[in-house]
Protein backbone atom coordinates (compact mmCIF):
# COMPACT_ATOMS: atom_id res chain seq x y z
CA UNK A 1 0.00 0.00 0.00
CA UNK A 2 2.78 2.37 0.95
CA UNK A 3 4.66 1.50 -2.21
CA UNK A 4 1.55 2.37 -4.17
CA UNK A 5 1.06 5.66 -2.35
CA UNK A 6 4.65 6.64 -3.19
CA UNK A 7 4.41 5.50 -6.81
CA UNK A 8 4.99 8.05 -9.58
CA UNK A 9 1.31 7.86 -10.58
CA UNK A 10 0.09 8.70 -7.06
CA UNK A 11 2.71 11.41 -6.76
CA UNK A 12 1.29 12.95 -9.93
CA UNK A 13 -2.34 12.46 -8.96
CA UNK A 14 -1.79 14.27 -5.64
CA UNK A 15 0.01 17.16 -7.34
CA UNK A 16 -2.26 20.22 -7.58
CA UNK A 17 -0.33 21.36 -10.69
CA UNK A 18 -2.03 18.57 -12.66
CA UNK A 19 -5.53 19.69 -11.72
CA UNK A 20 -4.83 23.40 -12.18
CA UNK A 21 -3.45 22.70 -15.67
CA UNK A 22 -6.30 20.43 -16.72
CA UNK A 23 -8.83 22.82 -15.12
CA UNK A 24 -7.66 25.71 -17.29
CA UNK A 25 -7.69 23.42 -20.30
CA UNK A 26 -11.25 22.36 -19.57
CA UNK A 27 -12.32 26.00 -19.24
CA UNK A 28 -10.98 26.80 -22.71
CA UNK A 29 -12.55 23.63 -24.16
CA UNK A 30 -15.94 24.62 -22.73
CA UNK A 31 -15.48 28.20 -23.94
CA UNK A 32 -14.63 27.12 -27.51
CA UNK A 33 -17.41 24.50 -27.61
CA UNK A 34 -20.03 26.74 -25.97
CA UNK A 35 -19.36 29.69 -28.29
CA UNK A 36 -19.31 27.42 -31.36
CA UNK A 37 -22.62 25.83 -30.39
CA UNK A 38 -24.29 29.21 -29.81
CA UNK A 39 -22.96 30.71 -33.06
CA UNK A 40 -23.73 27.57 -35.09
CA UNK A 41 -27.28 27.57 -33.80
CA UNK A 42 -27.79 31.13 -35.08
CA UNK A 43 -26.06 30.63 -38.45
CA UNK A 44 -27.45 27.13 -38.89
CA UNK A 45 -31.00 28.41 -38.43
CA UNK A 46 -30.41 31.20 -40.96
CA UNK A 47 -28.78 28.91 -43.56
CA UNK A 48 -31.30 26.10 -43.03
CA UNK A 49 -34.22 28.51 -43.46
CA UNK A 50 -32.57 29.97 -46.57
CA UNK A 51 -32.42 26.51 -48.12
CA UNK A 52 -35.98 25.73 -46.99
CA UNK A 53 -37.45 28.79 -48.76
CA UNK A 54 -36.58 27.36 -52.19
CA UNK A 55 -36.12 30.91 -53.52
CA UNK A 56 -33.72 30.95 -56.53
CA UNK A 57 -30.46 32.60 -55.44
CA UNK A 58 -30.98 32.42 -51.67
CA UNK A 59 -31.57 28.66 -51.48
CA UNK A 60 -28.77 27.93 -53.97
CA UNK A 61 -26.22 29.84 -51.90
CA UNK A 62 -27.33 27.90 -48.81
CA UNK A 63 -27.25 24.55 -50.65
CA UNK A 64 -23.72 25.13 -51.97
CA UNK A 65 -22.50 26.19 -48.51
CA UNK A 66 -24.00 23.10 -46.87
CA UNK A 67 -22.82 20.62 -49.52
CA UNK A 68 -19.26 21.96 -49.63
CA UNK A 69 -18.71 22.35 -45.89
CA UNK A 70 -20.27 19.00 -44.93
CA UNK A 71 -17.71 17.22 -47.10
CA UNK A 72 -14.63 18.89 -45.61
CA UNK A 73 -12.78 17.78 -42.45
CA UNK A 74 -13.34 20.03 -39.41
CA UNK A 75 -9.59 20.06 -38.85
CA UNK A 76 -9.06 21.67 -42.28
CA UNK A 77 -11.57 24.43 -41.45
CA UNK A 78 -9.78 25.12 -38.16
CA UNK A 79 -6.39 25.29 -39.93
CA UNK A 80 -7.82 27.64 -42.59
CA UNK A 81 -9.25 29.92 -39.89
CA UNK A 82 -5.86 30.04 -38.19
CA UNK A 83 -3.38 30.25 -41.06
CA UNK A 84 -5.39 31.89 -43.86
CA UNK A 85 -7.81 34.09 -41.92
CA UNK A 86 -5.07 34.77 -39.36
CA UNK A 87 -7.30 34.55 -36.28
CA UNK A 88 -5.84 33.96 -32.80
CA UNK A 89 -5.87 30.26 -31.84
CA UNK A 90 -8.94 30.31 -29.59
CA UNK A 91 -11.02 32.18 -32.15
CA UNK A 92 -9.70 30.14 -35.07
CA UNK A 93 -10.91 26.99 -33.30
CA UNK A 94 -14.28 28.57 -32.51
CA UNK A 95 -14.83 29.88 -36.05
CA UNK A 96 -13.61 26.66 -37.70
CA UNK A 97 -16.02 24.60 -35.60
CA UNK A 98 -18.80 27.11 -36.25
CA UNK A 99 -18.35 26.97 -40.04
CA UNK A 100 -18.72 23.19 -39.93
CA UNK A 101 -21.45 22.85 -37.30
CA UNK A 102 -23.61 25.54 -38.93
CA UNK A 103 -23.85 23.38 -42.06
CA UNK A 104 -24.90 20.34 -39.98
CA UNK A 105 -27.48 22.28 -37.95
CA UNK A 106 -28.81 23.91 -41.14
CA UNK A 107 -29.60 20.44 -42.50
CA UNK A 108 -31.29 19.45 -39.24
CA UNK A 109 -33.44 22.61 -39.34
CA UNK A 110 -34.39 22.06 -42.97
CA UNK A 111 -35.12 18.36 -42.37
CA UNK A 112 -37.38 19.27 -39.44
CA UNK A 113 -39.30 21.86 -41.45
CA UNK A 114 -39.60 19.49 -44.42
CA UNK A 115 -41.00 16.76 -42.19
CA UNK A 116 -44.22 18.75 -41.85
CA UNK A 117 -46.35 17.89 -44.90
CA UNK A 118 -47.25 20.85 -47.16
CA UNK A 119 -50.92 19.92 -46.72
CA UNK A 120 -50.70 21.21 -43.14
CA UNK A 121 -49.42 24.57 -44.40
CA UNK A 122 -52.18 24.80 -46.96
CA UNK A 123 -54.83 23.82 -44.43
CA UNK A 124 -53.58 26.45 -41.98
CA UNK A 125 -53.47 29.20 -44.61
CA UNK A 126 -56.93 28.27 -45.92
CA UNK A 127 -58.32 28.58 -42.39
CA UNK A 128 -57.14 32.20 -42.27
CA UNK A 129 -53.85 31.73 -40.36
CA UNK A 130 -51.22 34.29 -41.33
CA UNK A 131 -47.72 33.12 -42.38
CA UNK A 132 -46.36 33.73 -38.88
CA UNK A 133 -49.34 32.12 -37.19
CA UNK A 134 -49.09 28.99 -39.36
CA UNK A 135 -45.37 28.80 -38.54
CA UNK A 136 -45.90 29.37 -34.83
CA UNK A 137 -48.92 27.12 -34.23
CA UNK A 138 -48.87 24.52 -37.01
CA UNK A 139 -45.44 23.96 -38.57
CA UNK A 140 -42.91 24.68 -35.81
CA UNK A 141 -44.29 22.54 -32.95
CA UNK A 142 -43.82 19.16 -34.71
CA UNK A 143 -40.72 20.39 -36.60
CA UNK A 144 -38.91 21.50 -33.42
CA UNK A 145 -39.63 18.13 -31.82
CA UNK A 146 -37.73 16.53 -34.72
CA UNK A 147 -34.86 19.04 -34.55
CA UNK A 148 -33.98 19.01 -30.84
CA UNK A 149 -32.51 15.49 -30.40
CA UNK A 150 -30.07 15.70 -33.36
CA UNK A 151 -29.02 19.23 -32.36
CA UNK A 152 -28.30 18.13 -28.79
CA UNK A 153 -26.26 15.15 -29.99
CA UNK A 154 -24.34 17.51 -32.27
CA UNK A 155 -23.15 19.26 -29.07
CA UNK A 156 -21.23 16.08 -28.25
CA UNK A 157 -19.49 16.20 -31.63
CA UNK A 158 -18.53 19.85 -31.10
CA UNK A 159 -17.04 19.14 -27.67
CA UNK A 160 -15.07 16.18 -29.04
CA UNK A 161 -13.89 18.06 -32.13
CA UNK A 162 -12.75 21.05 -30.07
CA UNK A 163 -9.76 18.82 -29.28
CA UNK A 164 -8.56 19.48 -32.87
CA UNK A 165 -7.64 22.96 -31.61
CA UNK A 166 -4.46 21.43 -30.25
CA UNK A 167 -3.20 21.38 -33.86
CA UNK A 168 -3.03 25.20 -33.78
CA UNK A 169 -1.74 25.40 -30.21
CA UNK A 170 -4.88 26.46 -28.36
CA UNK A 171 -4.43 25.44 -24.72
CA UNK A 172 -7.63 23.41 -24.45
CA UNK A 173 -8.00 20.21 -22.43
CA UNK A 174 -6.34 17.88 -24.95
CA UNK A 175 -3.31 20.13 -25.52
CA UNK A 176 -2.95 20.91 -21.80
CA UNK A 177 -2.95 17.18 -21.12
CA UNK A 178 -0.29 16.57 -23.76
CA UNK A 179 1.89 19.32 -22.27
CA UNK A 180 1.46 17.83 -18.79
CA UNK A 181 2.30 14.40 -20.24
CA UNK A 182 5.68 15.83 -21.23
CA UNK A 183 6.21 17.16 -17.68
CA UNK A 184 5.34 13.82 -16.06
CA UNK A 185 7.34 11.74 -18.45
CA UNK A 186 7.05 8.25 -16.89
CA UNK A 187 5.04 5.76 -19.03
CA UNK A 188 2.48 5.01 -16.31
CA UNK A 189 2.03 8.74 -15.69
CA UNK A 190 1.46 9.54 -19.37
CA UNK A 191 -1.14 6.80 -19.73
CA UNK A 192 -2.85 7.96 -16.53
CA UNK A 193 -3.05 11.56 -17.79
CA UNK A 194 -4.74 10.49 -21.03
CA UNK A 195 -7.12 8.28 -19.05
CA UNK A 196 -8.01 11.24 -16.81
CA UNK A 197 -8.69 13.48 -19.82
CA UNK A 198 -10.78 10.74 -21.48
CA UNK A 199 -12.80 10.49 -18.28
CA UNK A 200 -13.44 14.25 -18.23
CA UNK A 201 -14.65 14.26 -21.85
CA UNK A 202 -16.65 11.11 -21.19
CA UNK A 203 -18.51 12.52 -18.17
CA UNK A 204 -19.54 15.68 -20.04
CA UNK A 205 -20.48 13.94 -23.29
CA UNK A 206 -22.21 11.00 -21.66
CA UNK A 207 -24.42 13.41 -19.72
CA UNK A 208 -25.33 15.23 -22.96
CA UNK A 209 -25.92 11.98 -24.92
CA UNK A 210 -28.18 10.72 -22.16
CA UNK A 211 -30.22 13.92 -22.30
CA UNK A 212 -30.43 13.62 -26.11
CA UNK A 213 -31.63 10.02 -25.84
CA UNK A 214 -34.22 10.93 -23.18
CA UNK A 215 -35.52 13.75 -25.36
CA UNK A 216 -35.78 11.42 -28.32
CA UNK A 217 -37.85 8.83 -26.43
CA UNK A 218 -39.94 11.38 -24.55
CA UNK A 219 -40.77 13.40 -27.63
CA UNK A 220 -41.57 10.45 -29.86
CA UNK A 221 -43.77 8.90 -27.15
CA UNK A 222 -45.52 12.18 -26.32
CA UNK A 223 -46.27 12.90 -29.96
CA UNK A 224 -47.43 9.45 -30.92
CA UNK A 225 -45.82 8.46 -34.17
CA UNK A 226 -44.08 11.69 -35.13
CA UNK A 227 -40.66 10.56 -33.92
CA UNK A 228 -38.77 8.01 -35.96
Amino acid sequence: MEAFMNSPVMEMLTDPVLYIGLGYGLLLTLQIAGLSIALSFVFGTIIGSMRYTGLPVISHVATIYIEVIRNLPTLLLILVSYFVLGLPAMWAATIGLTIYTSAIIAEVIRGGLNSVPTGQWEAARSQGFSFLQSMRYIVLPPAVVKMIPPIVSQFVTVIKDSSFAMAIGAYELMFKGTILAAKYWRPAQIITIYLVISLVYFIINFAISTVARRLQTKMSVGRGGIGD
Binding site: L72, F83, S163, I197
Partner: protein
Protein backbone atom coordinates in the same frame (compact mmCIF):
# COMPACT_ATOMS: atom_id res chain seq x y z
CA UNK B 1 -3.59 40.80 -70.67
CA UNK B 2 -0.47 40.62 -68.52
CA UNK B 3 -0.92 44.31 -67.69
CA UNK B 4 -4.42 43.66 -66.48
CA UNK B 5 -3.20 40.81 -64.30
CA UNK B 6 -0.33 42.94 -63.02
CA UNK B 7 -2.77 45.65 -61.99
CA UNK B 8 -4.83 43.26 -59.84
CA UNK B 9 -3.16 43.39 -56.45
CA UNK B 10 -4.29 40.13 -54.89
CA UNK B 11 -2.99 38.11 -57.85
CA UNK B 12 0.50 39.51 -57.31
CA UNK B 13 0.81 39.31 -53.54
CA UNK B 14 -1.11 38.08 -50.54
CA UNK B 15 -2.19 34.59 -49.51
CA UNK B 16 -3.72 33.65 -52.90
CA UNK B 17 -1.20 35.22 -55.32
CA UNK B 18 -0.30 33.56 -58.64
CA UNK B 19 3.29 32.67 -57.62
CA UNK B 20 1.92 30.77 -54.63
CA UNK B 21 -0.47 28.80 -56.86
CA UNK B 22 2.40 27.99 -59.22
CA UNK B 23 4.56 26.79 -56.33
CA UNK B 24 1.80 24.48 -55.11
CA UNK B 25 1.08 23.03 -58.55
CA UNK B 26 4.76 22.35 -59.21
CA UNK B 27 4.81 20.31 -55.97
CA UNK B 28 1.48 18.61 -56.47
CA UNK B 29 3.16 15.15 -56.18
CA UNK B 30 3.48 15.68 -52.43
CA UNK B 31 -0.28 16.10 -52.15
CA UNK B 32 -0.97 13.10 -54.41
CA UNK B 33 1.15 10.93 -52.12
CA UNK B 34 -0.80 12.23 -49.13
CA UNK B 35 -4.13 11.56 -50.84
CA UNK B 36 -3.09 7.95 -51.45
CA UNK B 37 -2.26 7.51 -47.76
CA UNK B 38 -5.66 8.98 -46.86
CA UNK B 39 -7.40 6.56 -49.23
CA UNK B 40 -5.43 3.64 -47.80
CA UNK B 41 -6.20 4.55 -44.18
CA UNK B 42 -9.84 5.25 -45.03
CA UNK B 43 -10.46 1.99 -46.91
CA UNK B 44 -8.72 -0.28 -44.39
CA UNK B 45 -10.24 1.72 -41.52
CA UNK B 46 -13.70 1.29 -43.06
CA UNK B 47 -13.17 -2.46 -43.45
CA UNK B 48 -12.19 -2.69 -39.80
CA UNK B 49 -15.09 -0.47 -38.69
CA UNK B 50 -17.58 -2.61 -40.64
CA UNK B 51 -16.25 -5.85 -39.16
CA UNK B 52 -16.11 -4.50 -35.60
CA UNK B 53 -19.42 -2.68 -35.97
CA UNK B 54 -21.26 -5.78 -37.18
CA UNK B 55 -19.96 -7.93 -34.32
CA UNK B 56 -20.65 -5.30 -31.65
CA UNK B 57 -24.00 -4.38 -33.20
CA UNK B 58 -25.15 -8.01 -33.13
CA UNK B 59 -23.90 -8.29 -29.54
CA UNK B 60 -25.86 -5.24 -28.42
CA UNK B 61 -29.04 -6.54 -30.12
CA UNK B 62 -28.70 -9.96 -28.47
CA UNK B 63 -30.73 -11.22 -25.52
CA UNK B 64 -27.71 -12.24 -23.43
CA UNK B 65 -26.77 -9.78 -20.72
CA UNK B 66 -22.97 -10.01 -20.75
CA UNK B 67 -22.32 -9.45 -24.48
CA UNK B 68 -24.91 -6.68 -24.45
CA UNK B 69 -23.24 -4.93 -21.50
CA UNK B 70 -19.80 -5.23 -23.11
CA UNK B 71 -21.11 -3.85 -26.39
CA UNK B 72 -22.85 -0.94 -24.62
CA UNK B 73 -19.66 -0.07 -22.72
CA UNK B 74 -17.64 -0.10 -25.95
CA UNK B 75 -20.12 2.08 -27.84
CA UNK B 76 -20.54 4.60 -25.03
CA UNK B 77 -16.80 4.95 -24.45
CA UNK B 78 -15.90 5.42 -28.11
CA UNK B 79 -18.79 7.73 -28.95
CA UNK B 80 -18.23 10.02 -25.98
CA UNK B 81 -14.47 10.59 -26.09
CA UNK B 82 -12.58 12.45 -28.84
CA UNK B 83 -10.98 10.41 -31.61
CA UNK B 84 -7.83 12.46 -31.09
CA UNK B 85 -7.36 11.07 -27.55
CA UNK B 86 -7.93 7.52 -28.75
CA UNK B 87 -5.28 8.00 -31.44
CA UNK B 88 -2.90 9.57 -28.90
CA UNK B 89 -3.49 6.68 -26.50
CA UNK B 90 -2.58 4.19 -29.23
CA UNK B 91 0.37 6.33 -30.28
CA UNK B 92 1.77 6.76 -26.75
CA UNK B 93 0.50 3.74 -24.86
CA UNK B 94 1.50 0.91 -27.23
CA UNK B 95 5.25 1.72 -27.22
CA UNK B 96 5.08 2.17 -23.43
CA UNK B 97 3.30 -1.09 -22.72
CA UNK B 98 5.31 -3.04 -25.32
CA UNK B 99 8.75 -1.40 -25.41
CA UNK B 100 10.61 -1.97 -28.66
CA UNK B 101 7.48 -2.70 -30.64
CA UNK B 102 7.37 -0.34 -33.60
CA UNK B 103 3.99 0.40 -35.15
CA UNK B 104 3.77 2.69 -38.21
CA UNK B 105 1.59 5.77 -37.76
CA UNK B 106 -0.61 4.60 -40.65
CA UNK B 107 -1.52 1.45 -38.72
CA UNK B 108 -2.37 3.57 -35.67
CA UNK B 109 -4.59 5.68 -37.94
CA UNK B 110 -6.38 2.60 -39.30
CA UNK B 111 -7.00 1.23 -35.79
CA UNK B 112 -7.99 4.67 -34.52
CA UNK B 113 -10.71 5.41 -37.11
CA UNK B 114 -11.66 1.72 -37.34
CA UNK B 115 -12.39 1.41 -33.62
CA UNK B 116 -14.03 4.85 -33.39
CA UNK B 117 -16.39 4.42 -36.34
CA UNK B 118 -16.91 0.77 -35.38
CA UNK B 119 -18.85 2.13 -32.39
CA UNK B 120 -21.07 4.24 -34.66
CA UNK B 121 -21.60 1.40 -37.14
CA UNK B 122 -22.52 -0.89 -34.23
CA UNK B 123 -25.39 1.46 -33.40
CA UNK B 124 -26.51 1.46 -37.04
CA UNK B 125 -26.43 -2.35 -37.19
CA UNK B 126 -28.29 -2.68 -33.87
CA UNK B 127 -31.03 -0.30 -35.06
CA UNK B 128 -31.27 -2.23 -38.34
CA UNK B 129 -31.71 -5.59 -36.62
CA UNK B 130 -34.21 -4.24 -34.09
CA UNK B 131 -36.28 -2.59 -36.84
CA UNK B 132 -37.24 -6.00 -38.25
CA UNK B 133 -39.98 -7.48 -36.10
CA UNK B 134 -39.39 -10.87 -34.44
CA UNK B 135 -42.57 -12.08 -36.09
CA UNK B 136 -40.83 -12.02 -39.47
CA UNK B 137 -38.20 -14.51 -38.35
CA UNK B 138 -40.80 -16.70 -36.67
CA UNK B 139 -43.03 -16.63 -39.76
CA UNK B 140 -40.09 -17.58 -42.00
CA UNK B 141 -39.03 -20.42 -39.69
CA UNK B 142 -42.60 -21.74 -39.53
CA UNK B 143 -42.67 -21.79 -43.33
CA UNK B 144 -39.72 -24.15 -43.41
CA UNK B 145 -36.87 -21.64 -43.82
CA UNK B 146 -33.75 -22.50 -41.87
CA UNK B 147 -32.27 -19.77 -39.65
CA UNK B 148 -29.62 -19.02 -42.29
CA UNK B 149 -32.00 -18.89 -45.27
CA UNK B 150 -34.46 -16.80 -43.25
CA UNK B 151 -31.68 -14.31 -42.53
CA UNK B 152 -30.50 -14.42 -46.13
CA UNK B 153 -33.87 -13.98 -47.87
CA UNK B 154 -36.13 -12.33 -45.27
CA UNK B 155 -34.28 -10.37 -42.59
CA UNK B 156 -31.09 -9.08 -44.23
CA UNK B 157 -32.67 -7.66 -47.42
CA UNK B 158 -35.08 -5.62 -45.29
CA UNK B 159 -32.45 -4.58 -42.77
CA UNK B 160 -30.05 -3.50 -45.55
CA UNK B 161 -32.52 -0.95 -46.80
CA UNK B 162 -32.56 0.70 -43.37
CA UNK B 163 -28.87 0.26 -42.64
CA UNK B 164 -27.29 1.37 -45.93
CA UNK B 165 -27.93 5.16 -45.84
CA UNK B 166 -26.45 5.69 -42.35
CA UNK B 167 -23.56 3.36 -43.29
CA UNK B 168 -22.53 5.44 -46.30
CA UNK B 169 -22.88 8.52 -44.11
CA UNK B 170 -20.45 6.91 -41.65
CA UNK B 171 -18.04 6.27 -44.53
CA UNK B 172 -18.05 10.03 -45.28
CA UNK B 173 -17.34 10.86 -41.62
CA UNK B 174 -14.61 8.24 -41.52
CA UNK B 175 -12.81 9.74 -44.53
CA UNK B 176 -12.98 13.19 -42.97
CA UNK B 177 -11.76 11.89 -39.61
CA UNK B 178 -8.66 10.23 -41.09
CA UNK B 179 -7.31 13.81 -41.15
CA UNK B 180 -6.75 13.47 -37.39
CA UNK B 181 -3.58 11.45 -38.00
CA UNK B 182 -2.03 14.62 -39.45
CA UNK B 183 -1.54 15.71 -35.82
CA UNK B 184 0.73 12.70 -35.19
CA UNK B 185 2.57 13.16 -38.54
CA UNK B 186 0.58 10.46 -40.33
CA UNK B 187 1.67 11.42 -43.87
CA UNK B 188 -1.95 11.70 -45.06
CA UNK B 189 -3.41 14.40 -47.31
CA UNK B 190 -3.92 16.85 -44.44
CA UNK B 191 -0.40 16.29 -43.13
CA UNK B 192 1.15 16.59 -46.60
CA UNK B 193 -0.74 19.82 -47.22
CA UNK B 194 -0.07 21.29 -43.81
CA UNK B 195 3.66 20.56 -43.79
CA UNK B 196 4.08 21.80 -47.36
CA UNK B 197 2.11 24.97 -46.64
CA UNK B 198 4.03 25.53 -43.42
CA UNK B 199 7.43 25.26 -45.09
CA UNK B 200 6.82 28.00 -47.65
CA UNK B 201 3.79 29.81 -46.26
CA UNK B 202 1.54 28.89 -49.22
CA UNK B 203 -1.42 28.22 -46.95
CA UNK B 204 -4.18 29.61 -49.16
CA UNK B 205 -3.76 27.59 -52.37
CA UNK B 206 -2.61 24.44 -50.53
CA UNK B 207 -5.70 24.34 -48.32
CA UNK B 208 -7.96 24.95 -51.31
CA UNK B 209 -6.46 21.92 -53.09
CA UNK B 210 -6.49 19.77 -49.93
CA UNK B 211 -10.14 20.74 -49.40
CA UNK B 212 -10.91 19.82 -53.01
CA UNK B 213 -9.26 16.44 -52.45
CA UNK B 214 -11.45 15.64 -49.43
CA UNK B 215 -14.51 16.99 -51.21
CA UNK B 216 -13.93 14.72 -54.22
CA UNK B 217 -13.60 11.70 -51.94
CA UNK B 218 -16.66 12.52 -49.81
CA UNK B 219 -19.18 14.17 -52.12
CA UNK B 220 -19.97 11.09 -54.27
CA UNK B 221 -20.65 9.12 -51.08
CA UNK B 222 -22.82 11.95 -49.74
CA UNK B 223 -24.87 11.89 -52.97
CA UNK B 224 -25.16 8.10 -52.70
CA UNK B 225 -26.37 8.48 -49.09
CA UNK B 226 -29.18 10.79 -50.22
CA UNK B 227 -30.21 8.49 -53.09
CA UNK B 228 -30.40 5.54 -50.70
CA UNK B 229 -32.35 7.62 -48.17
CA UNK B 230 -34.88 8.55 -50.83
CA UNK B 231 -35.20 4.92 -51.89
CA UNK B 232 -35.72 3.83 -48.28
CA UNK B 233 -38.36 6.51 -47.77
CA UNK B 234 -40.17 5.50 -50.97
CA UNK B 235 -40.26 1.84 -49.91
Amino acid sequence: MSEIIASIGFLQQGPFSIPRWEAVFSNIDVLWAGALVTLLVASLGLAMALALGTVIGVMSASHWKLPRALARAYVEFYQNTPLLIQVFMLFNAIPLVFPGLFIPVIVIGIFGVGMYHGAYIAEVVRAGIQSIGRGQLEAALSQGFTYVTAMRYIIIPQAMRIVLPPLTNQAVNLIKNTSVIAIIAGGDLMYAGDSFAGRYGHYGPTYVIVGLGYFLMCFPLAVLTRRLEERTRAA
